[in-house]
Every structure is written in structure tokens, then in C-alpha cells.
């Protein structure tokens, strides 16, 4: 399960070669180019688009976590927005109560997320499919109400202003500085995620996804690994929530409603469930396309006249795109990419003989 599928023409003779993350010089070259392009990006893009890239990084971290749970382990979770909020609120609460520093807050948010994951994951030991989805959705509402309660009791409902954090004496203010902080964080999360998937954890999670009964017959402690999947997922989610709170500089319960959940679902569904590449593509798609639409809508007077409804239309468009992907290409953008890849790799043939 590597990020890049190796060229089928490459002969691998050692185990190390087979498990290499970047298997061929071709892939290494383009990975290096991608990193260089990313490093140069803030100097090419203006502040607005750098901000979009920053938001994509944070969304990517959250989307990877959701994909780990839904795509890899096959445990549907509709409580994701609540967990993002829990992370942001943990950081906000620690700042308000103890004036705790940045690193401590990120760590605390991650720990709170992990604990919440165990609590919400416990029903997953008994519930499947629909019932699990509903119990996580119920958890979402309960978490949101609890956060609203805390917010109105501490800050009289106004929300929390977050100070600009400093990382190793480097104050994170302005989009460009955030970019150079978020890029390594996102890449590191990606690496950790890919390594999880390549290790015993990932294999156990995928086995549970395919059939939990046969997974347990293979000697996998399904209860333990389901809880682990929930806990790992919500920990990373809460971490991204804390980052999000610091990045926007303001935490309020309204930001973590069902629209945020839909946004994350859109990322993993449009990108492709169970695919790391899908999370990356989906996050970029969902964070960028609304702004492109907004730019396009500025030229159309009829849309401009609708004013606030344009926002509603954008959300509706995501609904439509999600629906089309579910109906027509369940593997998402990643699936489209694999199709293009297969087309060129196999040309002039249509499919590998041993795939049918």
C-alpha cells in the first residue's frame, strides 16, 4: 500500500525494495519536484491562495483521519465535526483557564481526541453499519451541545479568541509562516498514516473492513483494533481541530455544525474512500473549488444578485458531486486517476488478463 503505485515493469529482488515508499527513480524524481514546487508556492501564490493551501493542509490531516476510520477500517463515523470541535475547544479551554502554550495544547487536544475515540468507539464493538452511523451522529449532537454549553458559561456565548502561537520561538502570523509550519506537519501526518497502513495495524484494519468475523478467525483481536482505529482517527482529528482553531484565531461552536461534517464526508467520498491519494485529491478539490466557483460567479450578474444564496448553491453543488461520485465512481477521484494510469500502463490492452 504505497502512495505511488510502482511501474509494473520494475523487478523487485529484495524485501526492502518491495516495501520502499518511493520505489523507483521516476517516482523519487517527481516526489522531489513536488516538494520543491510546494516549497516555492508561497512566493508564487498571493496571500489569499496561500491561505487556501493552508486550509487544505489542515483539512487533509482531518480527512486522512476520517478515511482511516471509514475507508480503511470500514467503520462509518458521522461524528467527525464534533471531534474537530473537541480538539479546538480543548485548546481554547486550556488557553482560557491556564494560558497553556501551543505545544501543550496540541498534545492535550490529541489526548482528549484519543479518549473520546475510545468512548465513541465502544458502541462499535456491538453496532455495525447503520446503527454505528447513527450512534456516532448522536454523539456529534451531544458533543456540540456540550461545547455550546461550555461556551455560553465561560465566554457568555461569544466564542474564544486564540492568540497567535509561536513554534520554537517562531511566531506563526501571516499565511506564509503558517504555510511553512503546516507543510511539514501535513507531510509528517501523511507519512505516519501511510506507515500505519503498511504495518500490522493497517493490515488488521483492512481485514476488519472486509469481514470482521473472518478477521477474528485469523487471530486479529477485532475489538482492540476497532477501538484503536477509532482512537487513532479521533486523536488526529482533534489535533487538526486544534490547529484549525489556532489558524483561524477564533473558536466558536457554530463552526462545528453538520456542515463541517458534510465537508469532511465530501473530501473522503469525492477523493476516494480507503485511498491516501484520494484524501489528498479530495482535500484539494473541496477546499479549492468553492473559491473557483465564487470567482466564476462574480462574472455572472444573475448569480451575484442572489447574494447569500450563492453559499447555499455551493453546498448543494457538493451534494450533487458527492451523489454523482457515489453513483458513478465509488472510488472517487483516486479511482479516476487509477483508471487513467491503467489506461496508459496497459495500452494497447484494456485490462490485465489476471484481473478478470
Amino acid at each position: 500500500m504505497s502512495v505511488f503505485r510502482g511501474n509494473p515493469g520494475t523487478l523487485k529482488t529484495t524485501h526492502a525494495e518491495d516495501s520502499a515508499l518511493l520505489p523507483t527513480w521516476f517516482v523519487r524524481f517527481w516526489a522531489a519536484v513536488a516538494i520543491l514546487v510546494l516549497l516555492a508556492a508561497p512566493y508564487v501564490l498571493n496571500s489569499f491562495w496561500t491561505g487556501i493551501v493552508n486550509q487544505t493542509f489542515i483539512a487533509l490531516i482531518g480527512a486522512l483521519a476520517l478515511n482511516l476510520l471509514m475507508g480503511t477500517t470500514g467503520q462509518i463515523s458521522l461524528g467527525h465535526a464534533g471531534f474537530v470541535g473537541a480538539g479546538a475547544f480543548t485548546a481554547a479551554a486550556l488557553i482560557t483557564q491556564f494560558d497553556a502554550p501551543f505545544g501543550v495544547n496540541l498534545l492535550a487536544a490529541t489526548v482528549v481526541g484519543a479518549i473520546l475515540g475510545v468512548l465513541v468507539g465502544l458502541p462499535a464493538l456491538r453496532l455495525k453499519g447503520l446503527y454505528l452511523a447513527v450512534s456516532t451522529l448522536a454523539a456529534h449532537f451531544v458533543i456540540v451541545v456540550a461545547m455550546g454549553q461550555y461556551q455560553s458559561s465561560v465566554s457568555y456565548g461569544a466564542g474564544f479568541t486564540m492568540p497567535a502561537p509561536s513554534f520554537l520561538g517562531w511566531e506563526l502570523s501571516g499565511e506564509r509562516r503558517w504555510f511553512y509550519f503546516l507543510l511539514p506537519v501535513a507531510l509528517l501526518t501523511l507519512l505516519v498514516h501511510v506507515n500505519w497502513l503498511r504495518s500490522a495495524f493497517g493490515r488488521a484494519w483492512m481485514a476488519i473492513h472486509h469481514r470482521d468475523v473472518s478477521a477474528s478467525a485469523l487471530g486479529i483481536d477485532t475489538a482492540r483494533f476497532k477501538l484503536l482505529a477509532f482512537s487513532a482517527s479521533t486523536a488526529v482529528t482533534a489535533f487538526s481541530g486544534a490547529l484549525w482553531g489556532y489558524y483561524t484565531g477564533f473558536v466558536s461552536v457554530e463552526a462545528f455544525d453538520i456542515h463541517l461534517l458534510i465537508q469532511y464526508l465530501a473530501i473522503v467520498i469525492i477523493g476516494g474512500l480507503g485511498s491516501v491519494l484520494g484524501s489528498v485529491l479530495g482535500a484539494a478539490f473541496v477546499m479549492t473549488v468553492p473559491h473557483l466557483i465564487a470567482r466564476a460567479a462574480e462574472g455572472v450578474p444573475a448569480l451575484k444578485a442572489m447574494g447569500a444564496s450563492v453559499f447555499e448553491l455551493q453546498i448543494g453543488l457538493f451534494g450533487l458531486i458527492m451523489l454523482l461520485f457515489i453513483l458513478l465512481e465509488p472510488r472517487g477521484l483516486a479511482g479516476l486517476w487509477f483508471r487513467v494510469q491503467a489506461y496508459f500502463q496497459l495500452w494497447p490492452f484494456r485490462f490485465r488478463a489476471w484481473e478478470r
Partner: protein, 290 residues
Amino acid sequence: MSLVVVILIQASFYALLATGYVLIYRSTRVLNLAHGELMVFGAFVFYQALTMFPGSPATAVVAGLLGGALLGALVYFVVMRPLAGYPVAVGVLATIALSILLRSLITAIWSGQTRYPAELLGARAAPWDLPGGIALTPIDAAIVAAAAAALLGLPLMLQRASTGVAMRGVAENAVLAAQRGINIHAINAISWGAAGLMATLAGIFFAVKVRLGPDIWIVGLAGFAPALIGGMDSLRGVALGALIVATAEVLASRYIAPQFALAAPFLVLLVALWIRPWGLYGSREELERV
């Protein structure tokens, strides 16, 4: 005493919503998270008809019910039929996507403005004073009556009417039902249409009693809590589920804090899922301990 009446009205409203969830789940094994939008759509069709024919509320109600039922059937044919046989999670995700699509269409057609259809229906009728100091408005009485009619009539229809028998057959085993010559797609579309109709009924009541706007979908969404507590495939469980949820909600908002009204149904649901995941009267399917 008036508390009991408030709970009864709320429970009746939840029962109307929950029957829609149950009808859809029985036929297609889908938890329809777009139910709130079906409700809003039907209520808006009702409102539209009401502005066009101000003199006759009955026409408006019929138009609304028809609109909701047609949308339900349309959703089945366009979205749910191609997804037959997929894991349940896919169906849930599809209805989530559908819900935001419908919501934005509703906003695009009727704008996000809040309306009060009660004003169009003329001055609100004075409440009847019942013995015991209870005041019952006609709309509340209508909600209770409609819920009672639905809870008695729907099981009767499933028992006696040939369509109802076919619906039970499809719910029991769709493949076998198809083998025996039942047009399962027509039956499923009828189930979805009936669910859209029930949702619209609830939507019209809510619109007349409280308000109408695209944001009331959340009220419709809350209806899945009583459906699950009662058992997703059991019409019998709906009454009890609705009663439990309504009691929890009314008591929480009265004795703890009004903000808890939204969380109470879901807290009860979490407890219920933990103790008895398949609901009070539901059948135990797909639920084994691992």
C-alpha cells in the same frame, strides 16, 4: 397535567416523522437522513399552493402531500434504485449528499426567508379550554389525530390491503417477492412516496404551528431517534419510541435547560443503542457480537 398534553403532542409529531423513517427502512434498508428535506419540500409546496389559492387550505394540503410523495418516489428511482445491494453505509452517505442538494435547491427556489403559513390561514383559532385547565389549539388536536390515524391505519393497511401485503413481502425478502411476481420497484417507490407524504404531513403541521423555512430540516432529522428506539423496521415500535423521546425532550427542556431539548433525543438514543441496538420491537439483523 398540561405537561402530559405537551408530551403527547410532541410524541404525536415524532410519530408522524418516525413512520416515514420506518416505511423507507422496511422497504429499502436505508436510513434516510434526507427525511428532513422531504418534509421541508412538501411544506413549501403546501405554502406555495396556499399563496396561489388562499381560499382553500384543503387544496394546499393535498398539493403539498402530493408534492412530498412525488419527490419521495423520484428519490427512490434516481438515487436509491441504482444503489440497491450496496452496504448500508453507502445508502446513508448518499442520503446525506442528497439532503444538502435538496436543501440548497429549496433555498434557491423559495429563498431562506422564514414564513408563517398560519397568517395566511387567517387569525389563529382560539384554543379550546378542556377540563383540568388544559388549552388545546386546533392544530395540536389535528397533530394528535393524524398521528393516531397513521399509527392505526398504516398497520391495518399492511395487514389487509394488497399493496400492504406486497410491501410486507418485499420487506421480508425482496428477491423472493420479485420471484413471486411482485413489482418490487413499484412497491419500493410507493414506500418512499408514502414516507414523503408522512414527512410532508409533519412538515405542514410544524409550518402552521411554528414556522416554515429551509432551516427546519433539523426538526425532521430528529425523527430518526424515535424510529431507532422503537425499532427501524417496526411500525408498532414507533408509538413507544416517540413517547420516550418526547418525554425525555420535554422534561429536559423544562427541568434542566431549554438548550438540552436538541440533545435529549440523541442522548436517549445513545443509551438505547447501547442497551438494545435493534430497538424495542425491531428484528435482530446484522447485529452479532464480535
